[in-house]
């Protein structure tokens, strides 16, 4: 320890006096802090408030790489100072072991790098604090430094020092490192592949900060939407450090091995080497002489002590352990992937709909690292009139059932990925109930497998599994698990903490829809009694409970498929008696601004739709940005970014990126969400239509609040616009929704339109409603049949294109007769108003034009016609484009 201090003190003294070091250190600090300083300079003028996470991220974007260069430079400088300046012979006779010497040398370099690398961190943290008062966020910077900068210092300096010592030359060692981590690693992967199907990825991203993210952050700061900016809520230390182990793993192992090896290459005691016997006139004399010089230069020291050998062994063991842990990780993720593959390809049998979960009692605890321990008691009743023995549940694949007890009979469990099958013996008789008690343990979360794109998980895994060449393998140890509860937030679905009955088929999403199983489409209400202990300051659930303690207790009747608990290191503020705002502590100032408009939005909502009674208590939660969050903000439809949580319409997420806009969020935006949420909460709907209902109600609310700018007409420049069914989840056809709604409102009349929705929502009863029923209710209120409309636009992708043809004007006696027809060159049924403008006012007709059909019309007018117009108010859903005639003027009889 004393010797280490000496080394470090000497290193610092020597470096501090060297002009070169001072210049390098200053350049380093300036370069690394520059992004954060630049951020600070513009921070007052950006459309989006800049939080500490942005400062931290700007800082970390360049720092690891520059730090690696700095540390390597310091190591090489220290070596050359000793060797080139000729002071090593004296040092080498000192009575310390070579291992001790190398270790202290290394640590002394680390010791000098640490204060230098901390400077930019301190500068950036100070700037972040100066921007807004948020001292509690300083740990974020400390953690960022620990996870991203310190490893770069350790690995880079050790690598440079050990290779510099072994080769004796800086340039040579750089070439060596480059070769090793490219060709060397490739070769190793090829060789390993044949034997063990292993694959190691290089050190690249150990030092890479994230070029992409700084780009995206720049865009975000300029006010554009939704890049991958970390949350201000907390630093995801655990995920980052776990990723670090797999990223640094093989590099770290190599570094340790090199460091241990370098103790034999200090050249303290030059080994005696036997000369090669060569004839004086040997033809290859010069060449062999050269080889001999290399042999001499790279012969390990003789007379190494016990300490050095122990160090080598310890080093090799450490390197081996690290490698083994990576190999183990690879195997672990491979078996998880195999299990998921089985789960997704095997035909699982769902629970029959006669089975209901009457009541579910959950008593659970979420601990550090998102670990779960829980006890769940589910009362299951057979409402059918035949016995049932098979029950299929959905449960997060990372949560294991440790014990299952049933009130009577025996239970057999089978678990594949997220499917949990329970078979009861004897079967559950008709109208009987039985209680299943589960003991659960695990860490609920999502696994992201590091597999090669393209394709969905199944094809990616098949590619990996059946690979015949190492280029198709990936380093599976770099897969990651994103726990449902991290230090940033807790986001638990019911299936994360309890087995939830699965009724819909165990079928996977079609390729263009995403990964995993199709969502549950059949939902029933369950009496839920929940008690969850956790580590966060606040938790809310989709039933509307807000618990500002380490425990949330909730009792409500809810479909489990849409139940959600959300918590985090957040704080709350009441918004009058009827609402609560929950937000990230460092966003206090922003909360002030948004609270105003939130409060008035409640007023606006209740006035805009008086028949609706709003939920007794509304909760708005600022949702911290998730890693990999990438949504595109729709400037013209900001309400789309407020998410409604659960089926009750009481809880809303305001994404952090919306919350951090400096301009207070428009009260109408919240009002629209409140109306839509309340509509959703009043009537249970089948969950396959759940997304549609959210979009539909939001669009209706937006129209109700006078925010809909859109007419019913789709613009097109000659070619047919692409459309999607309104029920489709894929393209989220928001603009089509607005246009179709404009058309519907015209067809049934504004007040009937609202009546129809109220009918569906308020008088629908307990049964889960469908989109079809909603459309029918609207049609019924307006006295029109919307069956075809539903088929064309909700289920189909129809788009009428209407044009006037053969329009003639005749003077018949005292009156005028105008005839012609409307042709639909597009698809779908259209009801289109036609107006005849005359000297004595306008005449109107609405005519029906079927798919690809032609409909004729006749007007008889008293005044002289001016023009015939097709849908001048733009209330008929259709595409208008060049070449379609919508207006025919009368220019007198020829």
């Amino acid at each position: 320890m004393k010797l280490l201090r000496l080394f470090a003190a000497h290193e610092m003294l020597a470096q501090w006096r060297s002009m070169r070091f001072r210049v390098i250190a200053v350049v380093y600090v300036v370069l690394v802090s520059a992004p954060a300083v630049a951020l600070f300079l513009i921070s007052g003028r950006t459309p989006r408030a800049i939080g500490p996470a942005a400062f931290n991220m700007f800082l970390l974007s360049e720092q690891p790489l520059l730090t690696a260069l700095l540390a390597a430079g310091m190591a090489i400088d220290a070596l050359s100072r000793e060797r080139d300046e000729g002071s090593f012979p004296v040092l080498s006779v000192a009575p310390i072991s070579s291992a001790g010497y190398v270790l202290r040398r290394w640590l002394s370099i680390v010791a000098i790098c640490i204060p230098v690398t901390l400077l930019p961190t301190i500068i950036s943290a100070a700037l972040a604090v100066h921007t807004r008062i948020m001292l509690p966020l300083l740990p974020m910077f400390a953690e960022g430094w620990l996870v991203s900068v310190l490893p770069a210092v350790l690995v880079s300096s050790a690598l440079a020092l050990s290779l510099g010592t072994i080769t004796g030359r800086a340039v040579l060692s750089i070439i060596f490192v480059a070769l090793f981590f490219t060709i060397g690693l490739d070769t190793m992967n090829d060789l390993l592949f044949h034997v063990h199907r292993l694959h190691f990825a290089g050190p690249g991203d150990l030092f890479a900060g994230g070029e992409r993210s700084i780009d995206e952050l720049t865009w975000a700061i300029r006010g554009f939407w939704f890049p991958d900016v970390p949350s201000d809520a907390a630093f995801p230390l655990r995920a980052r450090s776990r990723a670090l182990v797999s990223r640094a793993g093989i590099t770290g192992a190599m570094t340790i091995a090199f460091l241990a090896l370098s103790t034999f290459y200090l050249r303290r005691t030059r080994r005696d080497l036997r000369p090669w016997k060569l004839a004086a006139n040997h033809p290859l004399r010069t060449l062999i002489g050269g080889v001999n010089r290399i042999r001499e230069e790279y012969a390990p020291d003789s007379g190494s002590g016990t300490a050095d050998r122990v160090a080598l062994i310890v080093g090799l063991i450490l390197a081996g352990l690290l490698t083994a842990s990576i190999v183990h990780e690879q195997a672990a993720f491979a078996s998880l992937a195999a299990e998921r593959f089985t789960g997704e390809t095997e035909q699982g049998v769902p629970t029959s709909t006669g089975i209901v979960a009457e009541a579910v009692t959950i008593d659970a605890e979420i601990g550090i690292e998102g670990s779960l321990h829980g006890h769940v008691a589910t009362i299951i009743r057979n409402t059918a009139d035949h016995p049932e023995s098979h029950f299929s549940f959905d449960l997060n694949p990372n949560v294991a059932v440790q014990k299952l007890a049933v009130t009577s009979g025996a239970a057999r469990i089978r678990r594949v990925w997220e499917r949990l099958d329970v078979d009861l013996d004897p079967p559950l008789a008709p109208h009987q109930a039985r209680t299943m008690s589960f003991d659960l343990a695990g860490t609920p979360g999502d696994i992201r497998f590091e597999l090669q794109s393209p394709g969905n998980f199944r094809s990616q895994w098949t590619r990996y599994r059946d690979a015949k060449q190492s280029i198709y393998l990936t380093d599976l140890s770099r897969s990651s698990i994103l726990p449902a509860a991290t230090e940033v937030r807790m986001r638990l679905r019911a299936t994360d903490i309890a087995p939830v009955l699965r009724y819909s088929p165990w079928a996977v999403q079609p390729d263009d829809h995403g990964e995993g199983f199709l969502p549950e489409t059949i939902t029933t209400n369950t009496a839920l009694a929940l008690r969850l202990r956790h580590l966060y300051s606040i938790a809310v659930d989709s039933c509307g409970v807000v618990a500002a303690s380490n425990e949330i207790v909730s009792r409500c009747s809810t479909p489990l498929a849409s139940y959600l608990i959300f918590g985090g290191p957040l704080i709350q503020r009441p918004l009058g008696p009827a609402a609560t705002l929950v937000f990230i502590p460092s966003h206090e100032a922003l909360a002030d601004a948004h609270a105003q408009s939130l409060a008035s939005s409640i007023q606006i909502a209740s006035e805009a739709w008086p028949q609706l009674s709003l939920p007794a208590h509304l909760v708005f939660v600022e949702r911290p940005t998730e890693p990999g969050d990438r949504q595109w903000y729709n400037e013209s439809m900001p309400w789309l970014t407020v998410e409604q949580i659960g089926a009750r319409g009481a809880v809303f997420f305001v994404p952090e990126m919306l919350f951090t806009t400096r301009k207070p969020i428009n009260a109408n935006v919240f009002a629209a969400s409140i109306i839509a949420g309340t509509l959703r909460g009043k009537r249970r709907v089948v969950s396959e239509d759940a997304g549609f209902f959210t979009r539909f109600f939001t669009s209706v609310a937006v129209g109700r609040l006078g925010m809909r700018k859109s007419t019913a007409v789709e613009r097109g420049a000659g070619f047919t616009a692409e459309t999607a069914p309104l029920l489709s989840e894929v393209f989220r056809p928001e603009s089509r929704m607005a246009k179709v709604l404009a058309m519907l409102e015209y067809r049934v009349g504004s007040s009937h339109f609202i009546d129809g929705i109220n009918d569906f929502v308020l008088r629908g009863g307990e049964r889960a409603g469908t989109a079809k029923e909603l459309v029918d209710a609207i049609g019924k209120a307006g006295g029109v049949d919307l069956t075809q409309t539903y088929e064309d636009y909700f289920v189909g992708r129809a788009l009428p294109q209407l044009t006037l043809i053969d329009v003639t004007f005749h003077h018949v006696g005292q009156r005028w007769e105008v005839t012609g027809s409307v042709k639909n060159v597009g698809t779908g049924e259209a009801f289109v108003p036609i107006a005849l403008r005359t000297a004595q006012g306008s005449l109107w007709q609405t005519i029906r034009v079927g798919d690809g059909a032609r409909a004729t019309f006749t007007f008889s007018a008293a005044g002289e016609p001016h023009a015939l117009q097709l849908d001048p108010d733009r209330v008929c859903y259709r595409q208008a484009s060049i070449g379609l005639i919508e207006n025919v003027e009368y220019r007198g009889e020829s």
Partner: protein
């Protein structure tokens, strides 16, 4: 009591086949010992073996009775030897005083910081560097560096000081100054000094050895060497005659 250093049958053949030492037997005790030999005779090779920086091809070495071949012994031997290499350079960015303290710590001297400082000052005084002790050693002249090298080699109070060609490149005044310094040191510590200049050891050495072509051709008192050549009036002449004798034999 065992002699301080005992070399027996030391041979060194470099890996290119060059025989730098061809069987050297040498016993060293207290006092000052001069190793005289022309350029390329093998002096640095021999000294490197002695300070454990080079492994001999064959032969044994004992230090105070301890066999240098064992790993554990090496630490002990290193503790007992002070070494001033032929091409010595201190650490440029440290002052003379700091450099001495650094060497002291590096050698693991069991002393308090105060005592180490005091010892460093004392040594700096002894090598006449007190005035410049707070200047960076990188700014020292060749002679000053060499003197700092002596101080450095003595900082841990070794039993033997090994000095390789200390006067090479020094002006005559510095050279005399340096010789006197070594003579003073030799009163307390055993000194092994290698040189190719006989004047360096003429006045001070109790015993000298002449090394040429890797072979010790003479080992004894100054007087013995003088008398061996019969008519020599100075050590210089006697040494030259000795070299000539063996040089012609080699030729």
């Amino acid at each position: 009591m065992a002699p301080l250093i005992e070399l027996h049958g030391i041979r060194k053949t470099y890996s290119d086949g060059h025989e730098a030492l061809r069987g050297v037997d040498l016993t060293l005790g207290e006092g000052m010992f001069g190793l005289l030999g022309p350029n390329g005779a093998g002096k640095t090779t021999l000294l490197s073996i002695l300070v454990l920086a080079l492994e001999p091809t064959t032969g044994t070495m004992h230090f105070d009775g301890i066999d240098a071949a064992s790993g554990r012994a090496r630490l002990e031997i290193r503790r007992q030897i002070g070494y001033l290499p032929q091409d010595f350079q201190p650490l440029r960015n440290l002052t003379g005083a700091e450099y001495l303290v650094h060497c002291a710590r590096l050698r693991g001297i069991a002393m308090t910081r105060r005592n180490i400082d005091r010892r460093a000052r004392m040594l700096l005084d002894a090598v006449d560097l007190t005035d410049v002790s707070d200047r960076l050693s990188g700014e020292y002249s060749g002679g000053m560096r060499r003197r700092l090298g002596i101080a450095q080699a003595l900082i841990h109070a070794p039993r033997m000081l090994v000095i390789d060609e200390p006067t090479a490149g020094l002006d005559p005044e510095e050279r005399i100054h340096f010789r006197n310094l070594i003579a003073e040191v030799a009163e307390e510590v055993a000194v092994l000094l290698s040189t190719h200049i006989s004047e360096d050891i003429e006045a001070t050495c109790d015993r000298i050895a002449v090394l040429t072509n890797g072979v010790l051709v003479f080992d004894g008192g100054v007087d013995a060497l003088m008398s061996r050549s019969g008519h020599a009036t100075s050590l210089e002449e006697a040494y030259a005659a000795e070299l000539l004798r063996h040089g012609s034999r080699a030729a």
